[in-house]
Each structure stands twice: as C-alpha cells, then as structure tokens.
Amino acid sequence: MKGFFAKYPAQIAACGAGLLYAIGYMIASSVIKTDAPALFHFYFLGASAVAMAVVTAVHTVRKSKRGAALYVALGLGCLALGRIFVIAAMLASYWTDPISVGFIAEACCYLFLMSALYLVSGTPRKVMGALNILALLAAAVCTASVIANSEVLLIVCVLAFNLICGGLALAAFIREKSTRFFAVVIGAMCVFSILGLLEAMYMVADAVTPLVEILLVLATLGLREEEKHA
C-alpha cells in the first residue's frame, strides 16, 4: 500500500481533492441556505471540465497515437463546451427555459466515449452498427427535446446514451483486462448520470462529478494505445 502511494502521488492527491470537494460541496449545500454553493459549483464544474479537456488534449497531442485518448479528449471538450454555453447564457442573462443547446453537448459527449470504448473493447462491428443506430435515434430525440423544450425527451435521450455507453463499458470490462479501470470509470460516470435524474440522488451525483472526471482523465492517461480496431 505504501508503495502504491509512493508510485502515484499526484493521482492520489487529485482523487483526494475531488473527494474532499464532493464532501465539502454537500456539507456547504446543506448548511448554507442561499444558492451561493450551487453557484460556485456551477462555475467550478465549467472550469474543471475545461481543465480536464486541456490535460487530455495535451496528452493526446504529445504522447498518444491519437486513438482512444483523442476521443476522450473530444468528449471532455464537448462537455466543457456545454458547460461554457450555460455559463455564457447566465452571464448574458439569457435564461428562458431549462432545456437548452448546452444539454445537447453534455449528452452528446457520450458519443465520443462510445467511440473510445469501441476502440479499446474489441466490440464486433455488427454490434457497434446496431449501437450506432440507437445513438442516432438518441441524438434525434435530444435535438427534438431542445426544439420542443421537453424535459421528458431529454431524460429519454440521457438514459439511452448512458445505457449504450454503460453496455460498451461492461463489454470492455469483460473482454479486456488492460482497460478495466477505464471501463469502470466510464461505467461509474453512466451510473451517476442516471442517478442524477432522480431528485433524491441529484445532489450526490452532482457533487461527485469532478471526482469522476478526474478519474476519467487518469484512466485515459494510463490507457495503453493498443486499439482492437485500428
């Protein structure tokens, strides 16, 4: 155990910081009755997503063969853009409805994670073809949810993306020993995203988001670029 701490000090510190932040945010939200913690968390999520996207993109350009890591970098970039959109809308006092274009980006980032999982898991082409059709339908539902301003459609599309991605993560976990950590992190991301749809679990899912994203970046940095489909 001591060796483990000595081997990965920065990674453990980052995870510890993410965990502490999650606990701190939950305590602050329950103690402070104003919306200040939520507002801080809102900006923090935007900044952290940008930072994670930059770290992964720099790693992709410098070291990776632009395989799965590139797709994760694009996915985190898409997520960051979605959050920047919401911050920009807030700064511009444009806040008409709960469903906006930012959610398309936050939901569609799973498309990139799907691609990364396909590359590392060795999923058969036919299965991926079927999943692609489901993803296309989910993206169409997502667009319809923004145009029709429908929360139900947005929930359907988030569920669909998470289930597709979760299934691929499970396949990657079973098939490839070397990518198990990566698969577990993406699986956890999907589980928290689904839990976040429940009102009772929203706070916990929201609080652990930075921690899960840190883990995703660490898993991507540690990913061996031996794609099954390259």
Partner: protein, 223 residues
C-alpha cells in the same frame, strides 16, 4: 403556417440573392475541368441554398411561438444541420481526400454566411454609412469564419474516422453537437458586452485549423 413562411420568404431579398449567386456559379461549375474545384464550388452553392431553407424553417419556428428561443437555441440546430447535410455524401466513400472534405465543408459554411450577411444588410432598417460599412466588415470577418469553421469541424470528424467505419456516425454526430454549441455560444455572446470573445472565438478556431493543416503538410513532406 408553411404557406405563410414561404410567403414571408418571397417578400425578402433572399431568393434574388440566391439566384444572382447560384446561376453564374452553376455555369462556372459546368465549365470547370478540375473535379475538386467542382466539388468545392458545389458545396459553396449548397451553402447559399441552405440559407434560404434555414430562413423558411426559422420562420416556421417563429410563427409557431418559438421566437424567444429561436436565435440561441433553435436556429443553430437548424442551420448546422442544413449546412452539414451534403457531407453525408462522403459517408459512403472508402477513400476520402482530406483536403477536399474539409475545404468542401468550409465552402458550405462560407456560402451560408455570405447569403446571411447579404440578407441582414439588405433589411429596410439598415442605412448604408461609414458605421454600417465597419459593422459589415466585422460581421463578414467573424460570421464567415464561424459558419465555415463550424461545418469544417464536422468535416474533420468524417475525415478522421475514414479508416474506422463504425466510428463515423458517433464521431460526426458528436462534432455536429460541438458545431451547434459553438454557433450558439457565438450568437449569445455577440449580443452582450462579451462580444469580443464571440468575435475572437471563430478566429482562434480558424488559426488552430491553419496551424494543424500546416503541421500535417510538414509531416507529409517528411514522410
């Protein structure tokens, strides 16, 4: 409602602009012998047609009560989808020329932005003067890059996944979402005191793309 939207479309200068641009370009496309130039110009023409279709769809949304959400939420979806539609032509191709694909995507976006700028500056409440000319230059510089780059982003996705067919669809859809959000952020910020950021965003994207393509060309020469 569709009839009303079409009637509104014919009351604007858009059909005249489209015909004035398209007819000479079609003659040019027919004359050209270079296949790549033909494809790029055809995509440019599609961009000009797409503005007209986007106007009709946007008017439909506006007439059905979506006016408040049109510019920031709905118009980017309609416009990015329409601009990128002919890129599906590259989906079935086994060998994709990187240059051709990205140039074509950008041409569609630039064609769109030219139609849009002509339309905005032909509105009856715009009176030509020094201030309007400066506005026209700034708008042309930024929106043409924004429209061009947002479609080029999607083209990049199709090119990049050329050798892994099952990834083409998720990658293209994902980058389509990115293009929509970039467009929407531009639309939101341009109307605020953070307009400078909106003006810089497409320029940054363009110079990143230029640097990437210069890097690729150097790599190609080394190989």
């Amino acid at each position: 409602m569709l009839r009303e939207a079409v009637a509104k479309y014919f009351s604007t200068d858009l059909p005249a602009f489209a015909l004035a641009v398209l007819i000479p370009l079609i003659f040019l496309i027919l004359m050209l012998k270079d296949k790549e130039a033909k494809v790029v110009l055809s995509y440019f023409c599609w961009g000009v047609v797409a503005v007209n279709l986007a106007f009709v769809f946007n008017t439909l949304v506006s007439l059905s009560g979506g006016e408040a959400r049109l510019s920031n939420d709905i118009a980017p979806i309609i416009e990015e989808t329409l601009k990128a539609l002919p890129l599906l032509f590259f989906f079935g191709k086994k060998e994709i020329s990187t240059r051709l694909l990205i140039y074509s995507a950008m041409a569609a976006g630039i064609g769109f932005s030219i139609g849009e700028t002509l339309f905005y500056f032909s509105m009856p409440d715009v009176r030509l003067g020094a201030a309007v000319i400066i506005l026209l230059i700034v708008r042309t510089l930024t929106t043409c890059l924004m429209h061009g780059m947002s479609t080029a982003i999607i083209g990049f996705g199709i090119h990049y996944t050329g050798h892994i067919k099952p990834l083409r669809l998720p990658m293209t859809l994902g980058l389509w979402a990115v293009a929509i959000v970039v467009h929407s952020i531009f639309n939101i910020l341009i109307e605020t005191r953070l307009a400078v950021l909106a003006l810089l965003m497409p320029a940054v994207l363009y110079f990143c793309a230029l640097a990437l393509s210069a890097g690729d060309a150097r790599m190609g020469k080394k190989e």
